[in-house]
C-alpha cells in the first residue's frame, strides 16, 4: 500500500492545496540613515508598494519623510512589522541607535542594508557595521541596491 507521504507529496495532490490567502499585508518602514541610503530610499519610494513607508534620518538623529516633514521614531515603529535600515559606508549611520532602541522596545524585527560597500574601503564598511550590528537582526551587503526591491517583494511589502 502506498504510504501517506508518497501520496501527499505528489503533483496530483498539490492541486488540492488550500488557495485562500494565508497572510495579511505586512507593514514595512524603510529608513535611510545617511545620504547614500537616502538615494536608495528615494528610488524605492517610487515603486508601487502597498504597505511600505519611506523615511530618512536627519542630522540630529530624528526622522522625517522624504518631503522633509518631521516624524516621530516611536510612532513610526509602533505598528511596523519590519524596519529596514539603509546606509552607506563611512560611519554616518548614527540614527541606527535611537531607531534600534525603539524597535527593540517594541520587539520589531530590523534588517540593515549596507549599500555601495563593494567599492568602499574596509574601515569605512567597518564603521557602518559597528553602528548597525547592535541593532540589526539581519545585515545584508549587496553589490546592487536593486536587491532591496527584490527583498521587499519577497516579503510582500
Amino acid at each position: 500500500m502506498t504510504s501517506e507521504s508518497a501520496r501527499m507529496n505528489s503533483a496530483a495532490e498539490a492541486r488540492f492545496r488550500v488557495q485562500a490567502p494565508n497572510s495579511l499585508p505586512r507593514t514595512i518602514v524603510v529608513i535611510a540613515l545617511d545620504a547614500a541610503g537616502r538615494a536608495v530610499v528615494e528610488r524605492l519610494q517610487r515603486g508601487g508598494w502597498r504597505q511600505a513607508t519611506f523615511l530618512a534620518a536627519t542630522s540630529g538623529d530624528a526622522l522625517e519623510d522624504l518631503a522633509g516633514r518631521p516624524r516621530q521614531i516611536r510612532n513610526e515603529v509602533e505598528h511596523a512589522d519590519l524596519v529596514v535600515l539603509v546606509a552607506g559606508p563611512g560611519g554616518r549611520a548614527h540614527a541606527a541607535a535611537p531607531i534600534g532602541e525603539a524597535c527593540s522596545r517594541r520587539r520589531v524585527m530590523t534588517t540593515a542594508f549596507v549599500v555601495e560597500a563593494t567599492s568602499a574601503a574596509a574601515p569605512d564598511v567597518s564603521r557602518t557595521l559597528g553602528q548597525l550590528r547592535p541593532w540589526s537582526l539581519m545585515v545584508v551587503i549587496a553589490e546592487h541596491d536593486d536587491y532591496i526591491d527584490d527583498m521587499m517583494t519577497a516579503l510582500r511589502a
Binding site: S3, S136, I141, A142, D150
Partner: protein, 428 residues
Amino acid sequence: MLRKVQNDLLTQTGPETPMGRMFRRYWVPALLSDELPENDCPPVRVKLLSERLIAFRDTNGRYGLMDEFCAHRGVSLWFGRNEDCGLRCSYHGWKYDVTGQCLDVPSEPEASGFANKIRLQSYPLVERGGVLWTYMGPPDAQPPAPEWEFITVPRPQTFASKRLQECNWLQAMEGGIDSSHVSWLHRGDLDSDPLFKGARGNQYNLSDARPVFEVVESPGGLYIGARRNAENGDYYWRITQWVMPSFTMIAPRGSHSVHGHFWIPVDDESCWAWSYDYHPVRDLTEAEIAAMRDGKGIHVRYVPGTFRPLANKDNDYLIDRAAQKMGRSFSGVEGIAMQDASLQESMGPVVDRTRENLVSTDNGIIMARHRLLRALAAFTDKGVTPPGVDPAHQKVRSAAIVLPRDVPFSDGAREALVARPAVAPASV
C-alpha cells in the same frame, strides 16, 4: 515570495529552458566513479537536466555519456553489450563509441559508410576526485575542468555520496542556505553525531539559539554568515559558501571534516543531492569513513542496490513519533540529510513560491534567487558567463572563526574563505 513566472524560470531546467541552458554552462557531477568501476563494466542509466543518458567505460578506460537510446529503433542501450571499445545495442547490434559515434551497423554493407552518418548526442565525462563530471553545454563554451577543493585533495582525504531527492532542485538547494533552520530541525544532532560532536564551536551554538545573520555577495555567489556572541565581546562566525548555481559548503566544526552539497536536477521533480566530506590537510579516518557510509553526518543509508535513501516517502521516512515526543529528535526523522529531505519533499515536487511568507532571516534565500535571476537575465540577454563557471570561483572554503566585533566577516575571514592547498581550515 516569487511570481509564478519567476518560479517557473528558476525551477525548469530542461534543454530548451533558460535555466536549463544556464545550468548547462557548468560542469556538474553525474556519477560516482565507483559506478563504473572497471573497463567494459555494465553501463549505467543517468538522467540529468531532464535528459535520459547512458554512461559507460570502454575497453581502454575512456568514459562516455550519451543519449540512452539507440538511433535505430529507440531501444535503451542499458541492455547493450560493453565490448571492444564500444557499446553495442542488443537489438540489432549497432555499436557506439564514447563520443556517441556509431561504429558499426551490421545490417548495412561495411563499405557503405552508413555508420558514419549516425551519431548520438554525447557529453564529455571526466573523473575528478572520485566523481565523474559532465558538461552538457555548447562545446565552444566548455570551461576548464572543475576545481572544487574536495576533488583536488588526495583521494584518502575525501568522500562523496549521492542520494535521490524527490523534489525540484531549487527547494532542496534553498534548504542548504537556510541557516536559521539548523537551530530547530537539527538541534539534537550536534551533540550526538560522530561527525559533529566535540567541537568547541558547538558550545557557541548551544548557548545562543538565536544567531544574527549577515548575507554578503561573493564573486561566485554568497557568503552567509551566522554570528553568535563569543568571549571578550568578539563574535563567533559560521560562514557558509554558496556558489552558483547549486554548490554549498557548510562551516566546519572543530577538527572534523568539512562538508557540503551539490543539488543537480534529474528532472523538474527530482534531483541528486550530492554530499561531500573532506579534510584539506589530513586523511579521513577509518571511523569517519565508516560513519559516512553508515549515513551519519550529511550522508544517508540506502535502499540496497540503489541511491534511494532507506528512509523515504514510501515508508513515511521511518518517522519515530515517540522520539519526537521525547525530544530525542525534533522532527522524529533520523539523520540530518533525511530531516531536510523529508520536509523539502513534503512541499511537493515543485513548491508554489507565490504562497510562501518569507521573513527577514530568509535573506540568504532571497539573495540567492536574486543572484540567479540576475545572472540568468545577463546570460540570456547578453551571453554573459554566469558566476561559478570560472574555476577561481570554485576555490572556496567555509569557515568557523572568532572575529572582533566590528570587522566585516568577508574581510576578517578573507584568507579563510579561500581554498589553499595544505592549509588547515579555519574552524572552531
